[in-house]
């Protein structure tokens, strides 16, 4: 019996709308078709705007990696006008980026566990994530959309007291992440469900140019922090975390291991705050008719902004290429031939962000 299943646009496993049209043979998926664009908001057109407002607009592209989006946008615009941001601003941006990677990865791990019906660890992940959000509220004043990046620097300083708090936070977080890692890596049922499921071979990963933990789970050590360093990653060397097997398990383990990498980077950044100057903001210049592009390693992978200015306050063209945009073509070959029970799991280990995908 052949049936066609419309997996989405509304489906419990994804919060956001994406449609997979699955042709089934019993429990096995024979064919798969990807359809996107359910939340296309025309943001690239809207970006032809006052460049100062663009930083706030770019945060709204995605609710999870807001800091990465606005940092990437600001770096691109600063690049067109040849602006150098103060060192303190760069350190603060780096700390925020890594904090955000922490909370995004915890979210992704939690959702992965939820998609295989493990509600208990899902709750644990979200509880740990809550601590990171509290930290955000203390440092930036907002929980999710931080709004501290503007073209030329940041608007909130991290003082010595806050730096102390951040250090304490790192200790607590590391302990909790170690617990979480133990629980995930040693659970029999999670291994049973995730190992050998949705294998993306190294060749396929190179062909489709997938990014982020998806690529690193398939033995492709592609990390923008190492390949093309931005803000402070020239000083803080990052070694890409790589797993070889390429299945759902590998992708999740990459995320679990990157939690510790992020905590480590935050710890390295905090002492740099002490001897960075007090300046956190450089006055922006006029926008020349130039083009520039920047890339940032967002939690889901490489994030790309292309900016082109014209001789006015408004931007001429902004192109946003998000990480799910790069990973999107990877869904189809992996889902073909898998079980229906694994479709949600495979897609959620890509950590899809449809808001990013459609823009």
């Amino acid at each position: 019996m052949k049936t066609t299943i419309q997996f989405g646009p509304q489906h419990p496993v994804w919060v956001e709308p994406l449609r997979l049209k699955l042709t089934m043979d019993g429990e096995i998926v024979k064919d798969c078709e990807l359809e996107a664009g359910f939340c296309h908001r025309g943001l690239e057109k809207k970006f032809e705007w006052d460049y100062n407002k663009g930083a706030y607009l770019s945060e709204r592209i995605c609710g999870i990696c807001t800091q990465h989006h606005s940092t990437c946008y600001c770096t691109a615009v600063e690049g067109t006008m040849g602006l150098e941001i103060p060192r303190r601003a760069a350190v603060i941006r780096t700390i925020m980026l890594e904090l955000e990677r922490l909370h995004s990865h915890l979210l992704a791990i939690g959702l992965t566990l939820e998609s295989i019906g493990f509600e208990n660890l899902f709750m644990l992940c979200f509880r740990n994530r809550e601590i990171v959000l509290d930290m955000f509220e203390r440092t930036t004043g907002n929980r999710v959309l931080h709004g501290i990046n503007i073209v030329g620097g940041v608007i909130r300083n991290i003082g010595p007291e806050m730096a102390k708090e951040l250090e304490d936070f790192c200790d607590i977080m590391e302990k909790r992440c170690l617990d979480l890692k133990d629980m995930i890596l040693k659970s029999y049922t999670i291994r049973e469900r995730m190992q050998g499921v949705g294998v993306m071979s190294e060749q396929l990963a190179r062909d489709l140019c997938v990014v982020g933990p998806v690529a690193r789970g398939s033995n492709v050590p592609y990390d923008i922090r190492a390949v093309a360093p931005y803000v402070l990653y020239n000083e803080i060397k990052v070694k890409p975390i790589v797993e070889t097997s390429g299945d759902c398990w590998a992708r999740s383990v990459v995320r679990v291991r990157e939690l510790f990498q992020s905590i480590d980077i935050i710890r390295q950044c905090i002492p740099l705050l002490a001897d960075a100057g007090e300046d956190i903001f450089a006055k922006s210049k006029t926008l020349p008719e130039k083009e520039y592009f920047t890339r940032v390693e967002a939690p889901r992978g490489e994030l790309f902004y292309y900016a082109k200015g014209k001789k006015s306050k408004e931007m001429d063209r902004i192109k946003v290429r998000t990480s799910t945009y790069g990973n999107g073509p990877g869904f189809v070959p992996l889902i073909k031939g898998s079980h229906l029970a694994d479709v949600g799991l495979i897609t959620i280990t890509f950590d899809p962000c449809i808001g990013c995908f459609d823009r």
Binding site: G37, H40, G42
Partner: protein, 114 residues
């Protein structure tokens, strides 16, 4: 940011050469400058190297512009080429040209010729 401007035929050769060298495609960016449509291809050499940019300039003539597809060479270009086609109303050979937008919306980023 240094850009090498090439013709469409040269672009195919460039893409083949880069593919053989193991280069990654970052994305394809379209830009409407009024009388031309500029298509920029961004590549990242892997495992290390500086990003390269190639640009194809397509003169506008009333919505019948044709761009050669590099999807057969780089499978990763599929979504980007579809988006290029639907956003700028150009015809990219070999891709359906609809991915994000509904059929009723036509080339929102295309500008009027000055």
């Amino acid at each position: 940011m240094d850009v090498k401007t090439v013709t469409q035929q040269e672009m195919q050769d460039v893409a083949r050469r880069l593919r053989a060298a193991g280069t990654r495609l970052i994305t394809i960016v379209g830009y409407d400058s009024g009388d031309t449509i500029q298509v920029s291809y961004f590549f990242q050499p892997f495992p290390e190297g500086k990003a390269e940019t190639y640009r194809v300039v397509v003169p506008k003539h009333g919505g019948n512009e044709e761009v050669e597809s590099i999807t057969p060479i780089f499978p990763a270009a599929y979504i980007a080429e579809n988006e290029l086609a639907e956003m700028f109303g150009v015809h990219v050979k070999g891709v359906p040209g609809r991915f994000f937008l509904h059929e009723s919306i036509n080339a929102p980023l295309r500008r009027k010729a000055p």
